[in-house]
């Protein structure tokens, strides 16, 4: 499977709001730490090295 960059989350606005809510009240350092944990958890869930590699390539390009 390759990286899916097409819309895949039902109700993306709701998800986006939940993502921000998860960071609510955190300092910048705490937010970074939360993001790092989130990346690790999601990466494990995806589990496919090809997809993860594509994702890493895309974030480098997009940055």
């Amino acid at each position: 499977m390759s990286l899916n960059t097409h819309p895949n989350i039902p109700d993306p606005d709701d998800f986006y709001a939940e993502l921000l809510a998860a960071h609510h009240g955190l300092s910048e350092a705490e937010s970074h730490a939360l993001n790092a944990r989130l990346v690790l958890i999601l990466a494990n869930h995806i589990g496919e090295r090809d997809v993860l590699r594509d994702a890493l390539a895309l974030v480098r390009e997009a940055g």
């Binding site: 970074h32 730490a33 790092a36 944990r37 690790l40 958890i41 494990n44």
Partner: protein, 511 residues
């Protein structure tokens, strides 16, 4: 009781009194690797001269963890059982974050192997056993207090200094087993590329009465050594190894002083009733030579590659170098093409990369750079308490296992993966002995569940199949043929093959 560092006998070298005949093999350095190489060559009938600038074993233990593969290699040199008996066997490692266990591993979950996954044994014992065997071996000319001071790598000429003066000597092959700082490498001006980890570690061996289990225990951010990491591991003679991460700013000279070391160790073990056996402060590196072959010089062990010790890949990797080199160099010394040595460079270069990759990753996990590295490291540790997946990312060292060489010998792919070409032929119980005792002496054709065709220069071992052999060698097949190299590595395998195919595979495996 402290170890007794009795010096080995010094003898006047013949070269001081007249020119010596050109030697087939000359080995610089009687550390574990040079000694094992001389013994391995002797096993294959090749004599060598082995010199060391010193006349005692390694002062302070350094290497303590010897892998199953190393024990199998030592066994062929007649020392495996002695090392395993003296050593403390172990297979479980536990990693803690603070006081909580976050990761554990069992390195040998299955029975049916002659040797345990690891034994802990001080390096000075390993060197002592090897040196005693070498001194007893008529094919080894072991010269202590002989220091190589210059060499011509093309002609194979060496200058050697002794307490009785200097002499020169010539050899066809020079094995540089002269350690991480390799004077030979420096004399030849070879680049030793890699990375240095900006961190200091206190390494101490202490003697105490305790009943810590013989597991490897590693702590990230332990309560007794704030913010750093620590390791505790048992050795024979009531000696325990303790590693403490100190930070890059630590002053090594200050940290080595016993009055500074003692209170640190008291916090680890919880009392003051111990004797300090040896202390040192290290900064670790991972480096390798691009090529291990240069003119007549062959680099083996730490002179060719160094790793940080988390994973015990230094000495164990070096013994595997010996294993890959011994049979080839013996063959070359007895007339085979020199090109055969390229297989050593190829395979052990591949292994060095794997060992460096693993050792560097573990060291980086312990000593993350500021920024993203530290962020992810800390969050992995935090998650590990709750999420099983993160435990596998906690890295306090991935312990030495032999790599699988990328060989392209004939393969029957439906046979078990664990015995494919390039792997060490797995051990198995055989009546009242072990398969590992039968492999690794010369070329061997293992015929399981069938008769072995006769192939010149290849011994045959015919075995009926049992559960263990089926599991490790057959899978769903009824029978198989395995061609094993003189180092016990699987060169090729078939369900069935004729003598010609086997002979061709053997020839190809020498390239």
């Amino acid at each position: 009781m402290p170890y007794d560092y009795t010096p080995f006998p010094y003898r006047r070298a013949p070269g001081l009194d007249g020119p010596e005949a050109r030697h087939p093999v000359f080995i610089v350095g009687a550390g574990p690797i040079g000694l094992a190489l001389a013994l391995d060559l002797a096993r294959h009938g090749t004599p060598s001269v082995l010199v060391d600038d010193n006349d005692v074993v390694s002062v302070g233990s350094r290497a303590i963890c010897w892998s199953k593969r190393s024990l199998e290699i030592l066994d062929r040199l007649g020392l495996g059982e002695r090392a395993a008996e003296k050593g403390v066997g172990w297979k479980v490692g536990r990693t803690f974050h603070g006081e909580e266990e976050v990761f554990s591993f069992d390195l040998q979950p299955e029975p049916g192997h002659k040797f345990p996954a690891f034994v802990n044994l001080q390096q000075y014992y390993v060197e002592q056993f090897l040196a005693e065997a070498a001194l007893d071996n008529p094919l080894i000319d072991l010269r202590f207090k002989n220091r190589v001071t210059a060499l011509d790598p093309v002609a194979g000429r060496l200058e050697i200094e002794t307490p009785d003066g200097a002499y020169t000597l010539e050899a066809d092959h020079i094995c540089a087993c002269d350690g991480a700082r390799s004077p030979i490498r420096q004399m030849m001006g070879l680049e030793f590329d890699g990375e240095v980890f900006e961190e200091r570690f206190l390494i101490a061996d202490i003697e105490m009465q305790a009943d810590f289990p013989s597991e490897r225990r590693f702590w990230f951010e332990p309560t007794f050594h704030a913010g750093q990491s620590a390791l505790l591991h048992r050795q024979p003679d009531d000696i325990y190894r303790i590693d403490l991460q100190l930070g890059w700013d630590a002053d090594p000279e200050h940290e080595k002083r016993h009055e500074v070391v003692r209170p640190r160790i008291e916090k680890v073990v919880g009392h003051a009733d111990f004797r300090i056996d040896w202390v040192s402060v290290y900064t670790f590196q991972c480096r390798r030579l691009t090529s291990f072959l240069h003119d007549r010089v062959i680099f083996v062990g730490d002179s060719a590659h160094v790793v940080s010790p988390f994973g015990a890949r230094g000495g164990n990797g070096g013994l595997q170098d010996v294993d890959a080199l011994g049979w080839r160099l013996a063959a070359v010394a007895q007339g085979a093409e020199v090109a055969m040595l390229r297989g050593y460079d190829r395979e052990r270069g591949f292994a060095a990369d794997e060992n460096i990759r693993n050792s560097a990753r573990a060291t980086r996990f312990m000593t993350p750079a500021d920024g993203a590295e530290r962020l992810f490291r800390d969050q992995v540790l935090k998650l590990a308490a709750q999420a099983p997946f993160a435990r596998g990312m906690v890295n306090s060292g991935r312990l030495s296992v032999p790599c699988t060489y990328p060989l392209d010998g004939p393969d029957a792919p439906d046979l078990p993966m664990g015995a494919r070409p390039g792997t060490v032929a797995p051990d198995a119980p055989l009546g009242n002995g072990w398969l590992s005792e039968r492999t690794g002496h010369g070329w061997l054709l293992l015929a399981i569940g069938q008769d072995a065709p006769t192939v010149e220069g290849v011994k045959a071992l015919t075995l009926g199949s049992d559960d263990v052999l089926r599991d490790r060698y057959l899978g769903d097949a009824d029978c198989a043929l395995y061609l094993l190299r003189p180092d016990g590595i699987v060169a090729a395998r078939w369900r069935d093959a004729g003598a010609q195919e086997i002979e061709a595979a053997r020839e190809a495996a020498c390239l």
